[in-house]
Amino acid sequence: MEQNFVLKTIVKYVIYLLVVVFISFALPRLIPGNPLFFLAGDYATDVPSALLKQFTAYYAPDLSLAEQFTLYLKNLAKLDLGYSFYYKTPVIDRIAGAFKWTMLLSIPSLLISTTLAIWIGVRMGLEKQARGATFLVPLLAVQAVPTFLIAALAQVFLGYKLHVFPASGAYTPGITAQSSGYAIDILTHLLLPLIVLVVSEIPSTAIFAYNSTLRIKKEQYVSFAQYLGISQDDVKQKFIIKNIMPEILGKLSIQTITCVTGSLFVEAVFSYPGLGTLLKQATSYRDYPLMQGILLVSCLYGICVNFAFELMLKMYTRTN
């Protein structure tokens, strides 16, 4: 039965994957007036002929749509995502270089923010009604602010004005992996973007955990545990948190997408060399192949993380 379920989930996600690939193929071609296929017109003079040749080879505007799609899939299998207009190197190379920084930022942020958010949400929920709710307003306020704005403000005040942390980049220019203090340097540069990302991710999960706690708090088994004299700590861990976990895990799988998106914007503000900064440059320079590549990769990343979470969730609920 377990294998049947895993199989069904895999099939579902493969379908999602295919649809994303298809959309990534179709979108630039569908949007009216998109410049990709007017390259012969406005852009022909801006784009060097070598690049134009690569472009035509990759996008093949003169072939039929079906043939274009086959070509696209073939290229995808080869991990060929076309050539970047601006950098004049393969898109996949640029993305691979940037992706590791994005993972360095996004994955720890997800772990830290989730742990903190659950702790905060449960603490709030366990308080007497009015006291717990006072934290709700600040959380809602932070949740409403666009992530890039939190990043910009943090950069201004903590980075530039107060010089508490380095304000941009992933490492001090010039330093290499062999230099002493490389790890520390990476860490100090990671700190501010990480803090900003964690702060932007906490409210949503914390509020959810708070509401879940309020609900579970009213369950009969919680009050009975207290009648039995079970310690408050045990009640918190084994009665409340254990019972809110399934729904939190469910919420988290959606949260992972927000984490990926948030990471992109935080990187862009801090010029952290992940996919976010790459995206910002690609948009500035209207580097369509690069943009398309980043879109595809971030969608795929999101789907993979989502898939991992859904499996984890089902395994957790089965064994408990």
Binding site: Y16, V19, V20, L27, P28, I31, P32, G33, N34, P35, L36, A133, T134, L136, V137, L140, A141, Q143, A144, V145, P146, T147, F148, L149, A152, L153, V156, Y160, K161, I254, I257, V260, T261, L264, F265, A268, V269, L279, K280, T283, S284, R286, Y288, M291, Q292, I294, L295, S298, C299, G302, I303, N306
Partner: protein
């Protein structure tokens, strides 16, 4: 009308403050042409002048009056937010009605599509969409609407299904009556949610548009707050002479005031 004022009076104090802030924003948006001392096209003024009697928030490095830019931003942002919010909420609601009324394959397809939309990073796709399309305000709005109807759809659909289950009369009506009859019958139940969503979606639209503008996407001449913030951050000497105080901070505070007030206004009772 008296019902509305009674409901407003019942709101907790912080929500009343939010409502007041939003009313002020709206008023500024309406009165923008009157309040702005200079045109936004006018860049004949001294560059980077600090705040003074003639330029309340000083000027930027190209010579525009920042105060006028800011006021213009009110108009652009609110106009855009209202339209995008209205369209995405209504689209989500209508699709939910269609889903619930027709059921079967149509529901399955819509639901599957919605789940797919949820799985991809919304903002990145909007960005993608908006970059490829011609850079104007309409396309930005369309891009935002196209991707944010999903939240509304999912919850409306759940609520409508709930309603249909609970109310047998409506259910039989849906079997006999046509689509419009059903819509009418369920409308009353759905209206309050539509209202909350409208505000939420307006908020989301502002968040998205500001983020897009920050990334340089959108109509180049429409100087929304996002664009102003981007321009400020791009300016290399922002931190000398406290330039950031009157160049960066005003649009930032304007955005914060708007999004936070909107969000707190529709938050569930604390």
């Amino acid at each position: 009308m008296s019902n509305l004022s009674a409901n407003i009076a019942k709101l907790p104090i912080y929500k009343k403050i939010c409502l007041l802030i939003l009313v002020i924003y709206f008023a500024i948006a309406l009165l923008a042409p009157v309040i702005m001392p200079y045109s936004i096209q006018d860049f004949s003024h001294p560059h980077l002048a600090p705040p003074s009697g003639t330029h309340w928030l000083g000027t930027d490095e190209l010579g525009h009056d920042i105060f006028s830019l800011l006021i213009n931003g009110f108009r652009l942002t609110i106009f855009m937010a209202l339209i995008a919010g209205f369209l995405s909420t209504t689209l989500g609601t209508v699709l939910a009605f269609i889903s619930v009324y027709f059921g079967g394959a149509i529901d399955d397809i819509l639901h599957f599509t919605a789940n797919l939309f949820l799985m991809v990073p919304e903002l990145v796709v909007i960005m993608f969409f908006a970059v490829f399309a011609k850079p104007n305000l309409l396309n930005t709005i369309l891009a935002i609407v196209f991707f944010s109807w999903v939240r509304v759809y999912k919850i409306m659909r759940a609520k409508l299904m709930d309603c249909m289950k609970k109310n047998r009369v409506m259910y039989t009506l849906s079997l006999k009556g046509n689509f419009l009859d059903v819509a009418q019958a369920l409308a009353l139940d759905v209206l309050p949610i539509w209202g909350s969503f409208f505000v939420l979606q307006c908020n989301r639209a502002v968040m998205y548009e500001t983020t897009l503008a920050f990334f340089g996407i959108g109509a180049p001449l429409a100087k929304t707050w996002g664009k102003l913030i981007r321009a400020a951050i791009d300016y290399t000497d922002l931190y000398y002479d406290n330039v950031y105080l009157w160049y960066l901070l005003p649009p930032v505070l304007a955005v914060l005031g708007f999004v936070i007030s909107l969000a707190l206004l529709v938050s569930r009772e604390v």
